[in-house]
């Protein structure tokens, strides 16, 4: 009957050539036997038997004797651990590299576009990481290598150290670190590349040029200090001195930036007037800058509150 033939075909086509004919012959005979003992019309019986045998692909796998899963208990634990470790390392690196690359590429710096590009690079890299690591482990699962040969036998040396009680979430710290480094890159690139070209093709900077003497380097140093503080937290965990250092640096940074802004020394006045000329309306430009400053100030207050809370916790 055609249904039977189609079923047998569906099962055997997943099997290697050598097995195919024999399995087909045997399966047909078995199916016929089962049909004889069913009740109902011929067609009903055939359908009942075939459905009881189940999905042909699944049955084929049973005939094949290869593992019916991608990753089994043997390798799964190590697989997850490797995946996590690699992702944690790769993501911040990729983000920062993308930031630098994207900004080097664009001549007229679009800061938000650059940041967006950096963010967009991350999911695709994560996908690659996921795929290649999984592929390697699926291969290991099927390769049937005894652990010793693969050099993957576990020895006591591999034991991880006890985690330091950092009192700060690891993901938070890494995120902060990436953020500060990213911010340093952004500031450098904004200072050097962001700007408009005036009528003569001369590049007008975003930041007030007088800032180059002292304030820009100072701000960069403060940001670097904050990044280093996060790195210290990463290595040694929170301590009172680190938190206090953080508060000092943050205060310095916020005071510097807000001070410059309120004294109209932050943005290049030529830039501002050109934006007015180009956009026909510098009120909105001022508003954007103003809002960013406000956000910045709020961020400062928030961080300081968090820092003070941490000190209180540490004092306990």
């Amino acid at each position: 009957m055609e249904l039977i033939e189609r079923y047998v075909y569906a099962v055997t086509r997943a099997l290697p050539e050598s097995q195919r004919e024999d399995v087909a012959k045997e399966l047909r005979s078995d199916i016929e036997d089962m049909i004889e003992h069913e009740k109902g019309s011929k067609k009903e019986r055939v359908i009942k038997v075939l459905e009881s045998l189940g999905r042909p692909e699944t049955l084929a796998q049973k005939y094949k004797d290869s593992p019916q899963y991608l990753l089994g208990p043997k390798w799964y634990g190590l697989y997850l651990a490797v995946l996590k470790k690699v992702a944690f390392i790769v993501v911040p690196i990729v983000f920062i590299v993308q930031l630098v690359l994207a900004s080097l590429e664009s001549s007229n710096l679009n800061v938000f576009g650059v940041i967006l590009e950096a963010f967009l690079a991350v999911p695709s890299v994560l996908l690659h990481v996921l795929f290649w690591i999984t592929a390697v482990f699926v291969f290991l699962e099927r390769a049937d290598i005894p652990n010793k040969e693969a050099g993957l036998e576990w020895t006591i040396d591999e034991l991880p150290e006890l985690p330091i009680e950092r009192h700060a979430k690891l993901s938070d710290t890494i995120a902060n670190l990436t953020f500060y480094v990213g911010l340093i890159v952004v500031v450098i690139l904004t200072a050097t590349k962001l700007g408009i070209h005036d009528a003569g093709g001369v590049h007008i900077q975003f930041f007030n040029p007088t800032l180059w003497m002292f304030w820009l380097p100072a701000i960069l140093l403060l940001l670097a200090g904050l990044a280093i503080k996060e790195a210290v937290i990463l290595k040694r965990g929170l301590s009172r001195s680190v938190v206090i250092a953080g508060i000092v640096l943050n205060t310095g940074l916020t005071a510097a930036i807000l001070g410059l802004y309120l004294n109209n020394m932050l943005i290049n006045p030529t830039f501002a007037s050109h934006t007015q000329a180009v956009l026909g309306d510098h009120a909105s430009f001022n508003m954007i800058v103003g809002i960013s400053m406000a956000v910045f100030a709020i961020g400062y207050v928030w961080e300081t509150v968090v820092a003070i809370r941490r000190i209180i916790v540490l004092n306990k």
Binding site: K25, E26, S29, D30, M34, H37, T58, K62, D65
Partner: protein, 133 residues
């Protein structure tokens, strides 16, 4: 106006679902364990029948009769695997109206079977001692 009875119904549904799930998981656990026990013994039972040649479906019926029901889709590949491992031999019998593949214990298979049988008897002794307490 329709809120409270609706909320009440939701509450009842959630409680019923939780209770139902609890019962189900116990039943599932039972089923899973029984399945494991059967799976451990099935090869022994199959081999015990194959001192005389049987074809697939015939064996299936005999197993059902001995209250050792097994899926057809599990038995047929298992027989092939046992043959591949040298425990069983097979031949196509063209006698009846339809050719059928008959399986029987090979010489190695017979030795394998008696070794397996004594292992089982040892194990059952130990288990019986354990569960008597």
């Amino acid at each position: 106006m329709y809120r409270s009875p609706l909320l009440l119904l939701c509450g009842i549904a959630i409680v019923c679902d939780i209770q139902y799930t609890d019962e189900m998981t116990q039943k599932d656990m039972m089923q899973a364990q029984v399945l494991e026990m059967r799976r451990g013994a099935i090869v022994l039972v199959i081999l015990s029948h194959l001192h005389t040649p049987h074809y697939g479906y015939e064996l299936l019926q005999k197993l059902e009769g001995a209250s050792f029901s097994i899926d057809a889709g599990t038995l047929y590949p298992l027989l092939r695997r046992l043959e591949k491992q040298g425990v069983l031999g097979s031949e196509w019998n063209t006698a009846d109206n339809r050719p059928r593949k008959y399986y029987h214990l090979s010489n190695d298979g017979a030795r394998f079977y008696s070794a397996l049988k004594s292992e089982w008897q040892e194990m059952t002794k130990a288990i019986n001692v354990a569960i008597k307490e």
